[in-house]
């Protein structure tokens, strides 16, 4: 039996995906703001973002603002679709048990 989408179905990654999905399509979120929203440590957040990037769900862009490094994360089209599917699945579960 297959398992739920393990990439999304993890508390920190779920919050990352939700935070990114709430933005207009293509909008980037700075790492520090994402950290504040998700409430994860820097290392933990970085590791989960890398997992999402490797899955093709998130894209990372690194640059400098003056001399300060800046990391921005955005949801890819594939990531948005996967997350919407995931949310639809959750609703299906709730609706199915409601009918029982």
């Amino acid at each position: 039996m297959d398992q739920p989408n393990a990439i999304i179905h993890q508390p920190v990654r779920l919050k990352i995906m939700a935070a990114l999905r709430a933005l207009p399509q293509g909008e980037q979120l700075e790492f520090v703001r994402l950290k504040a929203i998700v409430g994860a440590t820097e290392g933990n957040l970085g590791a989960h973002i890398t997992t999402l990037e490797e899955a093709g769900y998130a894209a990372i862009e690194k640059d400098f603002v003056g001399k300060r490094p800046r990391t921005r994360v955005t949801l890819t089209k594939e990531g948005r679709r996967a997350f919407e599917d995931y949310v639809a699945d959750l609703r299906t579960i709730i609706d199915a048990t409601r009918r029982e």
Partner: protein, 190 residues
Amino acid sequence: MNLGATAMTLSRDEAESTLRDISKTERRSSNLFGYRFGAPHLFLWGAIWMIAYGATYLRPEWSIVWPILIVVGVIGSFWLSWRAKSARADTFGWRYGATLVAVFLFVGALFAILPPHRDAQVAAFFPILVALFYLLIGIWTRGVRMVVLGLAVGALTLFGYFDLPAYFLLWMAVVGGGGLILGGFWLRHA
């Protein structure tokens, strides 16, 4: 995604709890994005209030700066939204324009029915209107900071109008304009 698999491995309680987490995170993210989008507009309009109210306090004949600065503010707001280059900004232009037209129509109709008798009434009315907008935006987006800003601007305006009539314009320049600028910093660092 695998609908069948997810349905088989999550209970209804887990699904509901996960949806609640998602909703909470999305709301927080959306609010922070809105705050970041709105902060520069507060800086701009705070500065305009400071200059315009301050000028009118110093010399009543300098009230001519108001229409000029309002035009500057409107153009500045369009520019700020264009600079943001976000999907939200794509729809911002016409909504902002339509909102301004609606507000001008409303104010025109209101003043035709209930004409103000003193300049101070007009000077107090617009900040109250701005406070109402902040409050409504905060209520509808669950943006606590916008609600606080709306209540603060409204309360400070009423206090200045009723308790400091001789210094009302100065009060609005310093507390109203300064308050908007501080509010902008508050939103930006949310």
